[in-house]
């Protein structure tokens, strides 16, 4: 595989240190806004606890709530489809498109359709989809993938966007004014909204008791697409359910504050049933989620509501960029979700963390992300997806540290070498030494001192 492992991709990202600093500060600013927003709610920690419990309960009764949702949605006139994997998901959507002979499609942000690579699938069948979320629109024009699940183009500066728009939309060269650039995108998108026959959206929350669902956006692009198109297809993972409408109050308060520091998303659109002239479809996708639900240590990763607060707080993400995670969902949450989808291809991700724990603290549904990172490391090593040299090193270290006399001898010899022949360690082969000095090697260990001075 030609996909770069996280450490290597991160190293390339950091080579442009000024840009890394800009990326880090931009995302830290979002984290800081989140802090300010959550501190206005004295009940914040209680809300997190409620959300976590509602989601835990739902996951434990998922079969019941899924059937409940299907039944209610069907009685509302929504056509419900079940997809066991990405192939199923894409085929179902293609069939709806083909059956209705449609060729103009708009799509608002849906990480699930990214996960399923729907755009490429339809493109190969000669069907074009237009992403209408501004960030997604930008990365789509650049033929890139989103680097962040809430802020898809956060890796780009306005100068980059200006160049992309100049190339594709013929905007003024060198005009970096965000207002001008957004206005140009809006102008182009508007025409496509009006002429499209089919709109695809994601789903933020699906409510079992009512068979309805909620889509949250800041740009109103989901609504723009859906209101003028004859067909609305909403795609959701099986974990998007909540039992009751009254639970929405908990999640809507948590979602936007965690994501961007806003009290609520600008648009929280409720979809209950199709209008008389409209078709409404919901595609419910498993794609490995039920397998994750079966992993006791990792099941509660399915509580995730995709706010990306863990991205913004992660000191590693901020300094390595979303693309270094080579997955649809990057960041800490991606690092515990992706090994479930493909353990070998994503075996590097749980190691792309210092286990600092900040991700678990910002998580609005209290997923123990850093603990799951630790546990995935164990699973990945147990499954043999580990470098042989690293394994041998660890075995050697374990042997030394299990035998006090060997440990003391190794320490003594090691320190002597460091003092006497520093060049043996202070060289290119020592990764630590590349940008850091080695610690001073004292003549006596603490134990030596203790024997003489106790």
């Amino acid at each position: 595989m030609s996909v770069k492992q996280h450490a290597e991709a991160a190293q390339e990202f950091i080579r442009d240190e000024a840009r890394t600093d800009w990326h880090d500060e931009t995302l830290w600013f979002v984290r800081h806004k989140r802090d300010k927003a959550v501190n206005t709610l004295p009940e914040w920690e209680i809300l997190r606890d409620w959300a976590s419990r509602i989601k835990n309960h739902t996951l434990s009764n998922l079969d019941y709530y899924l059937r409940n949702f299907e039944e209610k949605a069907a009685s509302n006139g929504i056509i419900v489809h079940w997809a066991s994997d990405t192939e199923d998901h894409n085929r179902i959507i293609h069939k709806i498109i083909a059956d209705n002979k449609i060729d103009k499609i708009v799509k608002s942000k849906s990480m699930l359709t990214e996960e399923c690579h729907l755009n490429e699938y339809l493109q190969n069948k000669g069907i074009q989809i237009l992403d209408t979320d501004l960030g997604e629109y930008i990365v789509q024009l650049r033929k890139e993938s989103p680097s962040h699940i809430v802020l898809p183009a956060i890796h780009l500066k306005r100068q980059d966007v200006s160049e992309t728009f100049h190339e594709h939309l013929n905007t003024e060269k060198g005009n970096y004014d965000p207002q001008y650039l957004a206005g140009s995108a809006r102008h182009h998108l508007r025409e496509r909204f009006i002429e499209s026959d089919l709109a695809i959206t994601g789903v933020n929350f699906a409510i079992a008791e009512s068979g309805s669902f909620v889509v949250c956006t800041n740009e109103g692009n989901a609504d723009m697409g859906v209101h003028s198109a004859g067909i609305h297809i909403a795609c959701m993972g099986i974990e998007k359910l909540i039992p009751k409408t009254e639970h929405l109050g908990v999640f809507l308060r948590l979602l936007a504050r965690s994501a961007t520091g806003q009290p609520i998303t600008t648009y929280s659109s409720h979809f209950n049933k199709p209008r008389p002239w409209q078709q409404m479809h919901v595609v419910i996708v498993d794609n490995g989620r039920s397998r994750q639900l079966g992993r006791a240590d990792f099941r509660n990763s399915l509580k995730c509501i995709r706010c990306a607060a863990c991205f913004n707080t992660c000191p590693v993400y901020r300094r390595s960029g979303g693309h270094s995670y080579h997955s649809t969902v990057a960041g800490p949450i991606g690092s515990i979700l992706n090994p479930n989808l493909d353990m070998e291809a994503n075996s590097d991700l749980p190691f792309a963390s210092t286990l600092c724990g900040s991700c678990s603290n910002v998580c609005p549904v209290k997923i123990d992300i850093h603990e799951q990172l630790w546990k995935w490391r164990q699973v990945i090593v147990a499954n043999g997806y580990v470098d042989k040299g690293k394994k041998a090193g660890m075995q050697g270290m374990a042997w030394v540290l299990s035998n006090p006399q060997v440990y003391r001898m190794a320490g003594k010899i090691g320190r002597w070498i460091m003092r006497t022949f520093p060049f043996m360690l202070n060289n290119r082969l020592n990764v630590w030494y590349k940008q850091r000095e080695m610690p001073r090697a004292p003549e006596k260990s603490f134990r030596d001192w203790f024997k003489e001075n106790k």
Partner: protein, 245 residues
């Protein structure tokens, strides 16, 4: 009060002064301190790298050395957290539980068990506080910037008792330094970048020392400081609390 002094392997080998300060401080405060002579390592380097099945030898050795104390105290939040969360061999459940519940990081032992409210310590310097993640978010040694909760810090509480010390905090009060165990070599670029960014914030405050409760973070920061020729020194909390200059 029988206290077993638990000195993490890399402190024993490379930073004996931190261990000496811890030992002297505990003695000064009236503890009956023993240092079990056959201790090695808690096993964390293997476990955090995904090899927790290789930590049996360390577990057995740890239990053998530390099973007979009222309290086990270490100048490291990270190693204490590992013992609390991952010690699983070397004794029956009751023995392991006893160890897990009696192992303390130094500042939490001083504040919660000894409940000290004055210290004969003096350190007339500008000191920047580096909060270590495992001590903070793992052992709850201080409030965390992500949570909506009252502010507190066990190490600051102690540092405030030191005469002449001026404590300064970086803007991002509890961002990770990037050490992260074997992360520091397997993700070298990110690790060093994180360390450099921490140092930059302390330099703005014009500190003379960066103080922390985990020598591993300090070793990483010290390595960068020295390579960059910056005169700021790193110092462990125990060394300041034991200081009588």
């Amino acid at each position: 009060m029988k206290v077993g002094l638990f000195i993490p392997c890399y402190i024993d080998q490379f930073y004996p002064d931190v261990a000496i300060a811890t030992y002297q401080l505990l003695k000064k405060l009236g503890c009956e301190v023993s240092y079990p002579m056959n201790q090695t390592c808690c096993g964390q380097p293997m476990a955090n790298s995904g090899f927790s099945d290789l930590t049996k030898g360390c577990d057995v050795n740890f239990v053998k050395n530390f099973k007979d104390f009222d309290y086990i105290v270490a100048p490291s939040g990270s190693c204490v957290l590992h013992i609390k969360e991952h010690l699983k061999e070397g004794g029956d459940k009751a023995e392991l539980d006893k160890i897990r519940h009696s192992v303390y990081e130094l500042s939490e032992f001083l504040v919660d068990i000894l409940k000290i409210n004055r210290l004969e310590a003096s350190f007339p310097h500008k000191v920047g506080m580096h909060v270590s993640c495992h001590g903070q978010r793992g052992l709850n040694l201080s409030s965390m910037s992500e949570l909506v909760s009252p502010e507190f810090s066990k190490s600051e509480h102690l540092l405030n008792m030191v005469e002449g010390l001026e404590l300064l905090k970086p803007v991002r009060v509890d961002e990770c330094c990037g050490f992260g165990g074997t992360f520091c070599v397997f993700e070298e670029a990110v690790s060093v970048k994180m360390g450099k960014d921490r140092i930059k914030e302390h330099l703005v405050n014009d500190v003379e020392f960066i103080c922390g409760g985990d020598t591993s973070c300090l070793m990483h920061l010290e390595g960068i400081l020295k390579r960059q020729g910056i005169g700021v020194k790193t110092i462990h909390l125990a060394e300041i609390l034991n200081s009588t200059i």
